[in-house]
Amino acid sequence: MSDADDDCERMTPSRRAVLGAAGALFAWSFVPKFAYAAAGARDPRFVLVVLRGALDGLSAVPPIGDPDYAGLREDIALTKDGADAALPLDGFFYLHPAMPNLARLYAAGQASIVHAAATGYRERSHFDGQDVLESGQGGPGKTESGWLNRLIANLPPGETVSRRGVLGVGVVPPLVVRGEAPILGWAPPRMPRAGADLMTRLSDLYGQRDPGLARALAQAIETEGIAARRGMSGEVRGGQGPDSAEGMKRIAEGAAGLVGADDGPRIAALAFEGWDTHANEGGAKGRLAQLLGGLDGALATFEQGLAPVWKDTVVMVVTEFGRTAKVNGTVGTDHGTGTVAFLVGGAVKGGRMIADWPGLKPEQLFEKRDLKPTTDIRAVAKGVVSELFGLSGPVLAEKVFPGSGGLAPIGGLVG
């Protein structure tokens, strides 16, 4: 194809280096793979972590090998040498120094990083961006259900995964779990729990008068039962929210406890907050570094909490979009487009950067402003769930990610 040839001719040295380092992974473009066999072979777990506020992928996974990176980032640019050096990944990309656990998992072949990734959304509203990310739709405005809920709803009935429902962590469940399939709910307890007798009486009352409340309560009771059997109920703590390292750890502990239970849900979604770094974002230290450290700690918590089933686990970390390539007037970054996604877990075929790197020169940026997205997050998600849960192409393309038939799942992400 002449277009592809043109692309190759225009390829920058840095892009060539990345393609070389990434090896054969571009095979996915041509051979969509549907791993039916994998479904029966394991009892898979999938945890989706949504970072709310648009993570700066260029700081989380800095392309220090790109000659234009340091100039764009000025005061917040990370370096590969010095006291707070970024952690090496493949010689072109580095990892933020606040993420040693992710670096360790990457080195152990249990983490892959997708760069220059985005959903199909190209505007810059956080809230629409999150809706697109979580609804699994091509554009905003369709928020009746989320793609994880539809994933469960479209699995063959009676399978372990579909029977258990999808777990939404937090008092307000994320859109990605909402929909017709059963939704379990859990949040770190902040109040003493009400007695079982009150629950029974309210279940009766709702059963007679209010089907919506009856369903919600039944699902809450089910989750509490699992938590109780795992020894998780009881301790009530005030504590910090989902925008702090401590809060992230507690949420990860709870989610791991429930997803790791034999009778628990196999799929969960949760959100960490506070990633909207408009001003004083910081470089190796500072606000973003604290958040990345919190996320890194949460990943280690998942690894420990899910230890017996870690080999069957994929934790996928995504955000609604990225941030501007250039640092803004207040030593932060504004709303951008391309960013990173992380795949972490024993089931990940890891140790790889997955990036068709577009470059950072002004003409290579999206709208001369943002890292240009070259990999669709939906293709990554489709690849992971098709290999993990054995979903077929048409179901994925029409039900789970509607209208995504032209977007082949990326194969070979799950080992």
Binding site: R124, G170, V171, A194, L198, L205, G329
Partner: protein, 482 residues
Amino acid sequence: MASPADLRANRVGLQRFGLGFRLGQPAEIVERAREILIAEVRPGGVAQPSGVPFSGAAETGAALYAFEDQERVEREARRVAALPGQPVQVAAAPPAANQNQMAQPAKAPNQPALPYRTYRDEVMARTRLALDAETGFGERMVQFWSNHFCIGATKSNMTRIMAGAYEREAIRPHVFGRFEDMLVAAESHPAMLDFLDNRLSIGPGSPAGKRRGRGLNENLAREILELHTLGVSGGYAQADVTNLARIITGWTVVGREAVLGFPGSFAFNAGLHEPGPQPLLDKRYEQPGKAQGLAALGDLARHPATARFIALKLARAFVADEPPSAVVGRLESVFRETDGDLAAVSLALLQSNEAWSAPPTKIRTPQDFLLASCRALGRKPDFGQVVGPLTAMGQPFWQPGGPNGYPDSNDAWASAEGIKTRIDVAAGWGRQAAGSVPDPRALTEEILGPLASAETRAAVARAESKPQALALLLMSPEFQRR
């Protein structure tokens, strides 16, 4: 005498538009609910809370700067004292930068620091007002607009200490006034300028921009267009965001040096403002200085997309997640015809038969649940009894997760974990109130009246204890939905 059907509708109306029936409230309020609700729409705004720690944002800001200066002094003293071989010295306070600066009272033992203390006192002042309100329609409108133009108290010391002052200054005076006035008051308030970073934004071509090489921050401009006026599908582009950001450069907060006014108050700093005319949507703004931003906000306030966006959001908040289109259409046309007169828009809502007759489907938000429960049980909660349950249920005052404010839909609040937490909270309230409420069955009649179903009456009557009976009342579908 109102018919039984009317009395039932009036109960729903009091819950839908107000904060719920109060223990001991005269029965007249149920008989004449609609006219009493309408009487709360008073041009000139709603009541202001009393007993607040500071009269306004400027006093709050000055106190904050003094507090931070004092903290710095104490930190330095501790650092010096910790050095080996150094004689312990108490450092002297630095000379006040300005005579206007308020003296900082010494911190009492076991008292939280000033920003937290101020936040606490403002929360309690606001709560008292809501518990005492007759129907609570005005307070519900305050909640709505405060959430529409929300700031987040956890962003900084400044937003925490000013959260209450912001609502008192930018929201309350305009709740039954003009939308444009509220818009300008909100976007020019120090709390908003800090929350969405505009105080730091510098026009690249301004004197300061050329000198320092710093520049724009688009955060406030984007949220004005997306969240405060046109709505995300209101027909603007990235270029409009950047242009509006240029237009409002210089809208900032006076620093501790008090160069442009009283510390902590709003200032227009011409030295930060991007010079020259700017395009926005289909117009060109030639005005110099602050007038440029005022003109742009004025046009945004009158834009048809704004009327549409506000009408839908109001109808969703008060009537149903999928509100009757007749209600939305009427609110939109009244907003447009009156140039955003919020008294007229509020009256249109209260006078709409569709808004009154819609079935009660919406679950009360955690804040409304707390206020309605305290009103029903005649409780006067302290700060811990307010902030604890609201944090657990996910809606503490002035602390939304982002500038889009708290959600207002059933799928957000009537979730599995949301309902479970609500039951835990109700069980606690039942235990706390059991001693002061004579008979839960009588209370059910008083609070729910004709709304109480036979099943709810039976559940309350058959409860194993008084605390459990009260929890069942508070968690009944008739109390939860409005």
